[in-house]
């Protein structure tokens, strides 16, 4: 009797441990999904900031042009002509982010105990819409192929039964979509920073002109400083260090605030770190055990939250 009772106890313990492992896995997949959605939201906020900086610079350039040419200042709401990202291009990038969140939703669904691992009706509709909208959107062929593959995976009922199989099969596809987003994040910051530096020079020009005509006031200087601070807060990476080195000009540093050169505020770096951690978490799901998956997903959530908090602070 003893061995049978012992066997039963051991079996029960194994069952409990197995259930605990399954719950931990489901919890990890929930976090994976959460992290993916947070990254997508942060990416969308970043694009909005790129647009804001672009239009802000255009606005100040037009004001400055009016003053320089002694023409009436345009106080109307002129339409901004985006120079970095158009509305269509932002919409296309939203499709890539929809692909990422759909993928994470499906992975989470595959991890459930339910026999029916379908996504919600809304998510299925999103997947079908994504499948049609990405075609002809103008994205590169390999990106279109990747997004189509994700939308089909999201709708699939037969092929993917296991999260390890799914995440392993889809790993290259996910990397294509993430890679496309990452490359642009870095370049867009350069554009933002250029707009901010341009505004600084334009404002210095105005202040110098006022000084020349003895009309410069301290309020004007303060207002100009506030404009530059606000623009830098959207995201700013100074050009190469050698450009800000006083030894380059041989002249003493001009009077001004300590923040004259501008500290680096790089939302692109935070976003790219979060995107990298998304890929890493997916790889962990494909290859390692529950503990390793948990660690990787926790890293994703931490980086996604950091990117989201960063964007929230910038837009205040």
């Amino acid at each position: 009797m003893q061995p049978t009772k012992l066997t039963a106890i051991c079996g029960a313990l194994l069952l409990v441990e197995g259930c605990a492992g399954l719950s931990q896995l489901q919890s990890s997949m929930s976090k994976f999904d959460q992290g993916a959605h947070q990254v997508a939201t942060s990416e969308a906020a970043f694009y909005a900031n790129v647009r804001t900086a672009d239009c802000t610079y255009q606005n100040y350039e037009s004001i400055i042009d009016s003053v320089k040419q002694k023409a009436p200042v345009n106080l109307g709401t002129s339409a901004c002509k985006p120079t970095i990202l158009t509305d269509d291009e932002i919409a296309t990038r939203q499709l890539l982010m929809d692909a990422i969140t759909l993928y994470a939703d499906k992975i989470q669904a595959l991890a459930t105990d339910d026999s029916n691992k379908s996504l919600s009706d809304d998510s299925q509709k999103l997947a079908k819409d994504l499948n049609s909208e990405i075609k002809g959107s103008g994205v590169a062929t390999e990106v279109e192929t990747a997004v189509v593959a994700i939308s089909e995976m999201a709708l699939d009922q037969r092929r993917f039964k296991d999260i390890k199989d799914a995440s392993s099969s889809m790993e290259p596809t996910l990397e294509v979509v993430v890679g496309a987003l990452k490359a642009e994040n870095t370049s867009f910051i350069a554009g933002l920073s250029s707009k901010t530096d341009g505004t600084e020079i334009a404002l210095r020009t105005i202040l110098a002109d006022e000084a020349k005509h003895h009309t410069l006031t301290s309020s004007d200087v303060i207002a100009a400083q506030q404009v530059i601070s606000a623009m830098r807060a959207l995201g700013y990476v100074p050009s190469t260090p050698s450009a800000n080195d006083e030894s380059t000009t041989g002249k003493p540093r001009s009077a001004g605030t300590g923040a004259q050169r501008g500290a680096t505020i790089d939302p692109a770096a935070k976003l790219n770190e979060a995107l990298d951690s998304l890929v890493a978490a997916n790889k962990a799901i494909a290859t390692v055990g529950t503990g390793g998956i948990e660690a990787s997903v926790n890293d994703l959530v931490a980086r996604a939250e950091a990117a989201q908090a960063f964007q929230a602070a910038l837009t205040k």
Binding site: I84, T141, A180, A211, S239, S242, A243, T248, T249
Partner: protein, 115 residues
Amino acid sequence: MATQDAQKQCLLNAVTLLRSAEGLIVQLSRNTTDADVLVQLNTEFSYIDSFISQLLHAQAITDDATFDSATAAIAQQASALQAEESDIKKVVADVATAAKISGYIGQAVSILATL
């Protein structure tokens, strides 16, 4: 690396160089209170910023045909950027700094000519 990827890297490399040129112009603007000089620096900077925006916009294009058109246009406009390289030397009094700025622009022109 695919051809478009290599071209996009060229665009990014050119952006980096032009940003370096901009950085020197910004530094010059911080070291003068002469309104006339600042007007000239503002003009030069605006031109370079406009070119950077054009490069970044091309880099963001994903449709192959549209990208090819954009890069062809940029390659043709590289000569105008080369003219900018000469203008800088007339605007910036400090010879060493002017040479650095022109150098960055010249390197960007060389890269864009390979598109």
